[in-house]
Symmetry: C2
Subunit: 631 residues, 2 copies
């Protein structure tokens, strides 16, 4: 499976290899059985060790001691997804969100002063955006930062409980400073949400004056992360605490910005933080791989009921069990390749000094869509893996419970998935022309109605390959066509195009007065169109990966995995294809039969397919897999 | 909503009312933040208090101090589903499984000697059936109980690790005795699995001689239950330790039984334990109600993004949010009524002295099917409720995390759901004629092939009402027909009939040599047919409930809830209806539109529908629901 591992490892194979080696050399973390305080202390200590490896410097600029490898930095976060996810999230808060905000929203002054201390963990920080009352609708945050020209200071204030910062990672225990998102007010006028660096604890760990810190307490999972709540009572910070890349205040209180429109500025600022969302998707993908690796290994050794040879049958030999695990495994492969492509796109975008606004918005949409689809897949697949291991899968010692509990919040943090898919649809409908991320239902309906000019299937890296496949689709009309990649690609494209056109038609009927109602009634179509888009993009990434695989045997295997991704995806949405005359009844049945066929074909390769993820063995140690058959 | 509560409370309204009052008078249990040891201690103490109320006596025979109200006993377990589920499970182990085994499998001697101490909790016990190596396939258990005629004793022995009893509730901390399922061997011959009462701890709580007790440790949830592992090293128990209602050994070692066939005897014994499965379904249903009540209350107060009136919109006003919660709520109503009907059937069957074997097997199949469908629904609906509350839903203080984690094992314990649905299909195919519960794939395929004589839609209590509705279906052909109950019932019936016929056709192709392969290839059809059956039975229970509701307004509301159950059920399986020509494309779209319509119609009643469950308020207290809109 070495060749397959190489195909999976792709461009950042070296980073992955290094981290695997480091992980293999470590004793496995054992969060099982720890209480909240112990778990937090352990993860804090591990975060410190991680800082000492220097690896977190990877994504930061060389001029401050970093290595400027943005793609590699995301991949190294992803790799943490194989281990205790609390560590991944805590690292993501420190270096991805907090460090990322300073890097992307701050200017040279902030970089010089803070980045080295952030990289070394000398300055542990928080990303204080979400409030109790506002999460998805970030523009409506209620914390204020009012400029006092006489003192040359901003006054950061929490007007009421709904405006308190909530669920903030690193806040309850370790954070010393927070990037606080607040409405910037100067000269009596609000200029929208900006980020400010506010000290929250002194050197002895006591809350800073005027700052109230509460503990969110125990959570469903991720209990190694100290989430808390922050309230500010007229806390004063210097004018330079404003992260001023996209908006600044002169000493006299004059507001200046390179982007005049408040909305556009705000979403440009938000857009620079896309890296966090991409990292979450990647980690979710790796947690899913770990769960499936455990479940497949168990299903190969667990035997129940006697078969025709008088031997007990391995449960992975039952079709029902294959259907629980193998389509999920195929989708995990598909999402892996899409993720790799997204990381490359992010890396490329960060390399350029001139930012193409449309391209940036397209990247944000891709990140949003892939995050939603990958984290929902994680929730579903890890659930299936747990159930597939029965009682053993319910015991903490067998890892699946923490995988399930830790990843559960991924579907709603770093952007609620339902909201994210709406962003995707809006981006597609407006060709990323305007304030992509403004999601108030009215604005969405109006924009879409005004700006949609017809869906054009976006190009992906695999476009040429896909076109070649589509052109080469044979004219055959038997059921074997369901295994033809050109036919599959065409079906996915057609679904996306048709869904978007239909959605636009609905939204175009909206007037100023009916925009909300029209949008709301079409909401299920919005979500369907977005999903159809993401699934097409994912397929094309898979096609590209197969295309660049030079080993025949491996390519043959990947081809079958790709079939299973495609056919199980069509299967679960086949009602749509039937309703819209894209599949006949018999052809739809052939799709279902195709899923069963590929499950059977891949059964003997299941172990190889999960082994190819090359998850360090200590993360796959579980008593349910220990010893011989009678263990 | 008082009227609606009465409809829901049904026949055992008095039991439900009593328990609500007792619950309301108690301080809420607060397992949040406890470690495993503290949680176990708390639940043990609560179990003691529950014993002191005398309520666990409800289901036991009056001659030993019980009240002989089997239905009431199940309902009282169900009510525990509103609170900490660890207590429900621990009570279920003590009085349902352990007490139930003594009652159903033992004879007068055992009843006299043990039932009073079991009811009072003076004798805490375990139900030791599952082994590490065998769970679903109980017939292949490996623990042995070999009769030694010279000593007049059974020797209970665990031959290897795979034969150790695993996941046994009450074993790690509190149990003194276990009903141990083992292969009975006498005179060198095995007579299959029987149950034996084996002391596992002495009066001081030390493991009995020859008994090894291990702790299963932390689990995903239900950490108030002390699950453990039991191994026996040639442990001697008197001949009378055998629970000998269905099989006995004379002092000289002669085996006797009223049921000659080993298989039939075994499944008859298992069948008497059906009550546990029914109680799990009921508790899962009540946990689901609690999760939905929390999520609906949150969705009414949580507002995000601005609407047409310049006010922030309650998230329950978004169609996407309604679709997450309201179809799940409708299904919860449907399953509630089906559960009530099942409990009545159980109650009736226990009243009769003469057991009709076919009827008993039909009851077991109904219990298996409803347990599978209800617990999967719980897993899905509680997941949806968690996600619908975003970050707040991830905090332990807001209850949803423990609901999710505790109920997660319900889909695989008390019978793995996938296995249970196969039992259902087999029962239907064989008209409950033979060893219903023998699920080895070969036996299943052969039985089905030999015995299937054509699917006959089973009668339910609502049969007459349903027939009247079907007959009254108007001949109209517009899309409004999707709201016609007769049309809906016919569609459900037709799907069941057609699925079963198709399945039988496939299985009938099996020969002795191909039986396994044929069965395995048809496995997805097996699961589909079983689900179609259960969903039809559930619909008919709902129809009967609506029919007996005498209040017009309430009936009107329930009618809409029933529509939503039906239409969302068809929607998620509409590919099948399309593929089999049961729905045209436009009609399928009308079904989807019908779901949206009923979501809109029920939106204003959502709060009332969850309030009607009359869950004691202290179980709905959550910080995310506290205070005013800005709390």
């Amino acid at each position: 499976m070495q060749v397959l591992t190489e195909v999976l490892d792709g461009r950042w194979a070296a980073v992955r290899g290094d981290i695997r080696e480091q992980m293999a050399a470590q004793r496995p973390p054992e969060p099982c059985g720890l209480d909240v305080d112990q778990h937090r202390a352990l993860v804090s200590e591990q975060l410190r060790q991680l800082a000492d490896t220097g690896r977190p410097r990877l994504g930061f600029p060389p001029e401050y001691g970093g290595e400027g490898d943005v793609g590699g930095a995301v991949v190294s976060f992803e790799m943490l997804g194989f281990g205790d996810l609390s560590l991944m999230v805590k690292a993501g808060v420190q270096w991805g969100l907090f460090g990322g905000a300073v890097q992307s929203l701050g200017t040279e002054h902030h970089h010089e002063r803070y980045l080295p201390a952030i990289m070394s963990l000398e300055l542990p920080g928080c990303f204080a955006m979400t409030e109790t009352g506002h999460g998805s609708d970030v523009q409506s945050l209620r914390t204020t930062a009012t400029y006092d020209a006489d003192a040359g200071e901003f006054v950061v204030h929490t007007p009421d409980t709904a405006a308190r910062k909530d669920y903030i990672g690193n806040a309850a225990r370790d954070g010393r400073m927070a990037a606080v998102f607040a409405q910037l007010v100067t000269g009596g006028r609000s200029h929208g949400v900006h980020a400010f660096l506010v000290p929250i604890r002194d050197a002895d760990g006591r809350p800073a004056s005027g700052v109230t810190i509460e503990d969110c307490g125990a959570k469903a999972g991720l209990n190694g992360v100290d989430n808390g709540r922050l309230s500010f009572n007229h806390v004063r910070v210097p004018r330079t605490a404003l992260l001023n890349r996209y908006g600044d205040v002169r000493p006299d209180g004059t507001y200046t910005s390179p982007i005049e429109n408040d909305n556009r500025r705000f979403f440009t600022m938000l857009g620079t933080l896309v890296r966090g969302r991409i990292s979450v998707a990647g980690s979710a993908g790796n947690a899913t791989k770990r769960a499936l690796a455990l479940a497949v290994r168990y299903a190969e050794r667990r035997r129940q009921f006697y078969g025709p040879e008088g031997e007990e049958v391995a449960i992975l030999d039952y079709l029902a069990h294959q259907r629980r695990l193998l389509p999920a495994l195929a989708r995990t492969y598909a999402l892996h390749f899409a993720q790799e492509e997204l990381v490359s796109a992010l890396d490329a975008s960060q390399g350029t000094t001139e930012v193409d606004a449309t391209r940036q918005r397209a990247l944000e949409a891709r990140a949003a869509g892939l995050k939603a689809v990958t984290t929902w897949h994680a929730t579903g697949a890890i659930q299936a893996a747990r159930e597939a291991c029965g009682g053993a899968g319910y015991l903490a010692e067998n890892v699946l419970p923490s995988l399930k509990a830790d990843t559960d919040v991924f579907t709603t943090f770093e952007g609620d998935n339902t909201v994210l898919l709406q962003l995707v649809a809006k981006g597609l409908l407006t060709n990323y022309r305007d304030q992509f991320a403004d999601l108030s239902p009215i604005a969405t309906a109006r924009f879409a109605a005004e700006q949609f000019v017809g869906a054009v299937i976006e190009r992906t890296a695999a476009r040429q390959v896909v076109e070649r496949l589509v052109d080469a689709t044979p004219a055959r009309d038997d059921d074997e066509i369901v295994f033809d990649r050109g036919w599959q690609c065409k079906l996915f494209e057609d679904r996306e195009q048709h869904s978007l056109d239909g959605l636009a038609r609905r939204l175009r009927a909206a007037t100023k007065d009916t925009a909300f109602e029209v949008f709301n009634t079409a909401q299920d179509h919005v979500l369907h169109a977005a999903r159809a888009h993401v699934e097409r993009v994912v397929l094309e990434a898979f096609v590209a990966a197969v295309d660049r695989c030079s080993d025949d045997e491996t390519r043959g295997l990947l081809d079958k995995v790709c079939d299973l991704y495609v056919l199980s995806t069509i299967e679960s949405d086949r009602a749509w294809f039937l309703e819209h005359g894209r599949l006949s009844g018999p052809r739809a049945k052939a799709v279902v039969a195709g899923v069963n066929q590929r499950c059977r074909d891949l059964r003997p390769h299941a172990r190889g397919l999960v082994d190819a993820f090359a998850i360090p063995e200590q993360f796959l140690r579980a008593p349910m897999l220990a010893g011989g058959e009678d263990g």
